[in-house]
């Protein structure tokens, strides 16, 4: 029996969709939080980081309650758009996005906080608006943080298991992502399939981390050279 590739393709689809959501939400929010101060900021920050420290089962439970048939968001989506995300691939995307959001947010925010404000102020004195400053100064200078956030959240999305299983369930071919397929194969004693998927998952994750380390080292070196040139 050949290996069923649907979990791999499904996992990639889910991870890509989740990362798009995380990039689109994480960068603006990180930019906002790095530069603005407002009452209750600490609470909001904690909330953004929460999915990183909570067990995935807690995230899954909350999402299942929110998006379930009788949950507040679930009822809203069903009534307005006639869609249900529970036990659907969109549920897997939401779960993956929620758990990987803090990785993106944290690393982008850290990078943006590291950008020298005098550079931004210089642009402002030369007449640039806030949006232009953000896109021409802050964003390009925090590029390394964005890339590492991107990769980490992609890898996290790819590996999301607990919350995904609770929200998207286990429908082979439709919501059965790689980690879930591995779990099911191992549970049912199908060690060969489990081993194959484990191998793919491990090699892929190793390459991601390896490449990220190499890349960030090179970045540091080139920044050091830049400073040296100054």
């Amino acid at each position: 029996m050949g290996l069923d590739f649907s979990p791999i393709i499904l996992s990639l689809k889910v991870a890509i969709a989740a990362v798009i959501i995380v990039v689109l939400s994480g960068i603006p929010l990180a930019g906002l939080m790095a530069r603005r101060d407002f009452p209750g900021k600490d609470a909001v920050e904690s909330l953004f980081t929460l999915p990183l420290v909570l067990p995935p089962s807690v995230v899954g439970f909350i999402l299942l309650w929110l998006f379930g048939k009788n949950g507040p968001l679930g009822q809203f989506l069903a009534q307005t758009f006639n869609v249900s995300v529970v036990f659907h691939i969109s549920g897997a995307v939401i779960a993956a996005a929620v758990v990987s959001f803090p990785l993106m947010y944290q690393s982008v925010k850290a990078a943006m906080e590291g950008v020298d404000p005098t550079l931004e102020n210089a642009a402002r004195t030369l007449g640039s608006g806030e949006i232009k400053v953000f896109f021409t100064i802050t964003l390009p200078l925090s590029w390394p943080g964005i890339v590492s956030g991107f990769i980490l959240s992609f890898a996290r999305s790819l590996g999301e298991f607990g919350a995904t299983l609770m929200v998207a369930g286990n429908i082979p071919g439709k919501t059965q992502t790689m980690p879930i397929a591995i779990y099911m194969a191992s549970e049912s004693g199908d060690d060969r399939t489990a081993m194959m998927l484990v191998l793919i998952m491990t090699v892929f994750s190793f390459l991601v981390v390896f490449w990220l380390n190499r890349w960030s080292k090179r970045q540091k070196k080139s920044t050091a050279q830049d400073i040296g040139r100054e």
Partner: protein
């Protein structure tokens, strides 16, 4: 070096503290059990634990039967480990402590028997069950297995690990519904999860044991799997050969087959089998 010595004394202090705590706790425990001893003589003899690894579907009746057993055999304490039969089989294979295995499927018990993990001659089919289609109480759409094609999502146990899921799969295949339904089937980790999915309304219908359908009034049975659409459902039980309480474990299996226990099982929707 100094740091090392300091570390050592710190460890010693912590160890002494622990010792004090443990001794205090042990002292408390003793007085507590001493008090009880005046009320019930039986608790003076150390109570033996019999670990029963049982299919999740047996939870309610077994908790009733537990009272029966512990009443008749004071000083014995039944400890249940409920999970899907597949997980339990794996646990026992990995050497998890268990005196008795009560499986919802023959294949899990067969696997253990092949590996010589059962005490020979103790295996017995102690009850049976049937497969039913359940929906939430206010569902009017689904009235038969054929109506499942109208549903968006349904749930069964994972056929590879959950016997009820395997019987459900057999039934659906037998009725030529499996292929058209496959994309809608959320595979659950055990029967309780199927019921939760149906109760919460996140799936429209589920296929479970008749006994499980009785456990909640939020759901209703709309159809029974036609006779012969799946292999007969019998629950085998056996003593695990790593058990150090062989005699007590055997007695438990005997009690399970007594008319009192059988009546309890039937009360919960199980079907009596002929030995």
């Amino acid at each position: 070096m100094l740091v090392y010595v300091e570390g050592r004394t710190k460890v010693k202090k912590v160890a002494i503290l622990f010792l004090v705590i443990i001794l205090t706790l042990a002292g408390c425990g003793q007085t507590a059990s001493g008090d009880k001893g005046t009320d019930r003589r039986s608790s003076q003899s150390p109570s033996k634990q019999i670990i029963v690894s049982a299919a999740a579907s047996l939870k309610e009746p077994l908790e009733d039967i537990e009272k029966l057993y512990e009443e008749q055999h004071q000083g014995l304490d039944l400890v249940f480990n409920f999970a899907s039969s597949g997980s339990l089989q794996k646990q026992i294979e990995q050497g998890a402590p268990a005196d008795i295995f009560l499986s919802a499927g023959q294949s899990q018990m067969d696997a253990l028997e092949k590996q010589d993990l059962l005490v020979q001659g103790t295996r017995i089919d102690f009850t049976g069950n049937e497969i039913v289609l359940v929906v939430s109480r206010d569902n009017q759409n689904i009235k038969s297995f054929e109506d499942l094609t109208k549903a968006n999502l349904i749930s069964i146990g994972t056929p590879e690990t959950v016997p009820a899921g395997k019987y459900a799969q057999e039934t659906l295949k037998n009725m030529k519904l499996w292929d058209s339904l496959q994309d809608k089937i959320v595979q659950a980790k055990d029967v309780k999860q199927v019921l939760d999915y149906v109760k919460s309304g996140n799936v429209e219908a589920g296929i479970v044991y008749g006994s499980d359908a009785k456990s909640s009034d939020k759901i209703k049975v709309v159809a029974e799997a036609p006779a012969g659409s799946h292999s007969p459902i019998v629950y085998p039980g056996a003593v695990i050969n790593t058990s150090s309480n062989l005699a007590e474990a055997k007695v438990f299996l005997d009690i399970l087959c007594s008319s009192e226990a059988q009546a309890i099982l039937e009360n919960y929707g199980f079907k009596r089998v002929n030995y």
